[in-house]
């Protein structure tokens, strides 16, 4: 709740003091930021009757001076350029400028130079520079996410852009929450260290006045970790509702695009999956596929009851009742269609790709099981004709990540088989993954087989049996959160920046995963928050990953690494 309500508060404040008809002008990033938290009908209530993009080339030259312009942009140089052009020949009566992050003085001076007509009434910084997709989950929707896998020397300017954007996003989170955190980072990740140090510099030195909030007794914690410490979670197939939709179809800014998936009626081609607006989704987003099926059936039954009663209209009273309830009925109809469509499409995909079979092996690889059995299972699936290329690749990757050191010969065999079976497979990708995220590079105990305590725990779990073999995997993040709750996050693995130190347990923790989060991890965070442990966790990342996106990042990084001279 806290992230979405922060964004809504900012937007409310932007619009409430300006009376009259308004036009809201956004850029391509702030469109996402605003759309996930505010709806079009709410904008209309606030008298915003037009929404435009700042760089829209279709903009007419016609002046609309009866409108007041409210700009909400990121403070980038392109936006400042656009603004300068538009201030030089103003179309609207008044201009109110809001920026989502800290402005440099030069940018203010540039704008003042261009504002000859003196149409600008105010310039403010409203720090909503993140996309709040769920109450405790945010993302930054960064375009070239793969940069984090490469050392900075390969592409220094893009690396710097990446770090700057991440630092801006994290800074705006803490400005929105009005806190200044203690910062820790993952020791063996250069990019995490760099981001942590630059954030500390911003918060404690460059803009220390801005961040100087009232100190509570316990400072919150910012933990910057690297995706490559847990490469398994994004590769796994998911079986809980929100994560599954993203894995099989894809969710972007809480919207699902179904246009490529078969023939659907016009109003179901793009749907919204937001826990704030859809009560059924809110209750079922973390449930597994079997339970969802049952709940949807119940929903459809309820709906059928209501439509049956609507059809028997005898008296005037019935008619009146019908007209009364019609808007609700229509909304329910849309909602039920949406969920039924989604579940149908996903069932189709599961059937086609034989995902139940594949996922069983995946979970075995990720959680437990012996090496010999695993090798056999993977080989069988590789030989199976109906398994798709991407699933084969994922299986081999998971096997390689788990049994990297145990049997190199068999690993080679799998590589060769994969290369021979999959036509589109780019050779060396699995080796690249091992180089990036192999056992030597990882800090956390990903498979629970490093120390005796974890091994014992695993054996106990294996003996006890699991409730559902498809959802037995727990992301590494869960262990990290447990360690933080107990105050036992090791300094050796996650050092502090500068001379900060934390006594006791923090009450608010923001975890930022450089390289992207997954919906499985955000589910973990939400369940942890719901368990009332006294600590509130917020999760954020540069993007939201699914297996396709993760593999694409790996391929891009591999391509660049190959073509550049300064390779690791």
């Amino acid at each position: 709740m806290v992230l979405i309500s922060a964004v809504r508060d900012y937007i409310n404040r932007m619009l409430q003091d300006i009376s009259g008809m308004k036009v809201l002008i956004l850029d391509s990033h702030t469109v996402s930021i605003v759309s996930v938290g505010y709806s079009q009908s709410e904008l209309l209530q606030k008298e915003v009757f037009l929404v435009e993009l700042v760089d829209s080339i279709y903009k007419s030259k016609e002046p609309m001076s009866h409108l007041k312009a409210v700009y909400f942009l990121r403070p980038t140089s392109e936006n400042i350029q656009h603004l300068r052009q538009q201030l030089a020949s103003p179309r609207f009566g008044e201009y109110h400028l809001f920026f989502s992050n800290i402005l440099k003085d030069t940018q203010i001076h540039n704008l003042a130079d261009a504002d000859e007509q003196e149409v600008v009434q105010q310039i403010q910084e409203f720090y909503a520079d993140f996309v709040a997709i769920d109450p405790y989950h945010f993302t930054l929707n960064m375009p070239s996410n793969h940069i984090y896998m490469l050392p900075a020397v390969v592409d220094p300017s893009n690396s710097q852009h990446f770090c700057d954007r991440v630092v801006d996003g994290i800074a705006s989170i803490f400005l929105a929450l009005k806190r200044r955190p203690i910062i820790r980072y993952q020791r063996n990740s250069d990019i995490a260290k760099r981001i942590a140090q630059e954030t500390a510099k911003l918060m404690y030195q460059q803009e220390s006045g801005l961040f100087d909030f009232r100190r509570m007794e316990v400072s919150p914690l910012l933990l910057v970790i690297d995706r490559r410490d847990d490469p398994v979670t994004p590769l796994l197939n998911q079986w809980t509702y929100q994560a599954m939709v993203h894995e099989l179809i894809g969710i972007q800014d809480n919207k699902v695009d179904l246009r490529n998936i078969g023939k659907l009626p016009k109003d179901q081609q793009e749907v919204v999956l937001s826990s704030e607006q859809d009560a059924f989704f809110k209750a079922n987003m973390y449930e597994n596929f079997g339970d969802i099926g049952m709940n949807i059936k119940r929903l459809v039954d309820e709906f059928q009851q209501i439509s049956k009663s609507n059809q028997s209209i005898q008296t005037i009273e019935d008619m009146a009742k019908f007209v009364d309830k019609y808007p609700e009925y229509r909304k329910m109809h849309g909602n039920v269609s949406k969920h039924v469509t989604l579940v149908t499409e996903m069932s189709k995909i599961v059937e086609e790709r034989k995902l139940m079979l594949v996922s069983e092996t995946e979970q075995e690889l990720a959680c437990n099981g012996g090496q010999v059995a695993a090798f056999e299972a993977v080989t069988n699936l590789l030989n199976n004709e109906s398994v798709s290329d991407i699933d084969r690749l994922r299986l081999v990757m998971l096997y390689a990540l788990r049994y990297e050191k145990e049997s190199p010969v068999q690993l080679m065999q799998l590589f060769n088989k994969l290369a021979s079976r999959s036509a589109k497979y780019k050779p060396g990708l699995v080796q690249f993954v091992l180089k990036q995220a192999g056992v030597d590079k990882r800090t956390g105990d990903l498979f629970g087989n490093r120390d005796l305590l974890n091994i014992a725990r695993n054996m106990a779990r294996g003996l006890k049996g699991v409730e559902n073999v498809y959802t037995q995997h727990q992301p590494l993040l869960f262990q990290t959160m447990e360690s933080i709750s107990k105050g036992r996050l090791r300094d050796v693995d996650y050092p502090y920046v500068g001379n900060h130190f934390q006594q006791g347990r923090p009450q608010e923790v923001v975890i930022f995963i450089v390289g992207g989060t997954t919906y499985e991890e955000s589910r973990s965070v939400a369940l942890q928050n719901a368990s009332n442990s006294g600590i509130r966790f917020i999760l954020g990342g540069s993007v939201v990953l699914n297996s396709k996106r993760f593999l694409k990042d790996l391929e891009e990084a591999q391509r660049i690494a190959r073509s550049s001279t300064a390779v690791i």
Partner: protein, 316 residues
């Protein structure tokens, strides 16, 4: 949530730049004038939808930027908004009248009924007129601010729909309470009204003497009056239902894709894109069109013939 206001820094720099530029202009007003104007504009309290027409054209140095009057449809939308306000006020009156009519009283309550009827009729009229005007809104105006118009329409349509729903709900509760009340003292009467045959049988059964002439007349008159009341309320319910159906097309469903800001921006871009492509295609086909070529050839032929004719006249 933290914010930071940079307006002061901005203004300072803007004034500094202006004072550098000012010696180049021959205008008299310094930097103080425009700033004060801006401040007064900010301070004035505006009602919603008010046009920005009170700013004077400014000193001669600012010749380029004059504030024009808003387009004409803004007047229409303002009228609809004013109507909505009036309807709301009338609804408050109606609620009071309903409450008064339901209270037990010694009088007949006929004037209360009349008042309620009149008010209900007025409100329904206002809503219907507003709805018609709202439909007209889309037809008028230029294409440039069609988006703004569409959104103003949507917002007003939502308000109108909410008002209709409220009115209907109030009416149905009033109707229900009315029926309950009348049922109380005249329970038997009401039953007779609804179950025609059965009650007449009961009537005969109970006693031949039963209800004498006077009572029958009174009962019949009571029935007719109640029937009339109920019919009228039902009629206004029907009218409102019609209005709601018309309006529901304009209103956005909350929580669907149509309610998303990014979706709306996309569709605008796409439709403008499409429009541009269609225009270009039309232009091309027109240029290539055989029609144009034929026409030019014919015109040239005409001229040639004319010249030949003149020559013939001159030579012979």
């Amino acid at each position: 949530m933290a914010t930071r206001n940079r307006t002061v820094v901005y203004r300072r720099h803007r004034d500094a730049v202006k004072s550098v530029r000012a010696p180049l202009f021959s205008s008299a007003s310094g930097s103080g004038g425009p700033v004060i104007e801006m401040a007064s504009l900010l301070g004035s309290n505006r009602s919603s939808y008010a046009p920005l027409s009170t700013e004077d054209p400014g000193p001669s140095s600012r010749d380029a930027f004059t504030v024009g009057l808003p387009p004409s449809w803004v007047d229409d939308s303002e009228q609809v908004a004013a109507n909505i306000q009036r309807a709301r006020a009338k609804m408050a009156e109606l609620v009071k009248a309903h409450a008064k009519a339901l209270m037990p009283s010694f009088e007949d309550g006929k004037e209360d009924q009349h008042l309620i009827e009149a008010l209900t009729q007025e409100i329904t009229d206002i809503l219907r007129r507003s709805e018609k005007r709202l439909q007209k809104l889309s037809a008028s105006g230029s294409a440039e601010d069609s988006n703004v118009r569409k959104n103003v329409q949507r917002s007003l349509a939502t308000d109108l729909q909410n008002l209709s729903v409220e009115l209907r709900r109030k009416q149905s509760t009033y109707l229900k309470r009315l029926q309950q009340q009348k049922e109380g003292p005249d329970g038997v009467d009401l039953e007779m009204n609804l179950n025609g045959n059965k009650s007449s049988l009961e009537d005969d059964e109970f006693s031949d003497v039963g209800f004498n002439e006077q009572q029958m007349v009174k009962i019949k008159k009571g029935q007719q009056e109640r029937e009339r009341e109920i019919n009228q309320v039902v009629q206004s319910v029907n009218e409102l239902a019609q209005i709601m159906k018309d309006l529901s097309v304009l209103v956005i469903d909350q929580g669907t894709i149509v309610d998303r800001i990014d979706y709306n921006i996309q569709t605008v871009a796409v439709s403008v894109d499409e429009g541009l492509k269609q225009l270009q295609k039309a232009e091309r086909t027109q240029k290539k069109g055989g029609m144009v070529r034929c026409a030019t050839v014919l015109v040239i032929m005409c001229f040639i013939m004319l010249v030949l004719l003149i020559l013939k006249e001159i030579l012979f």
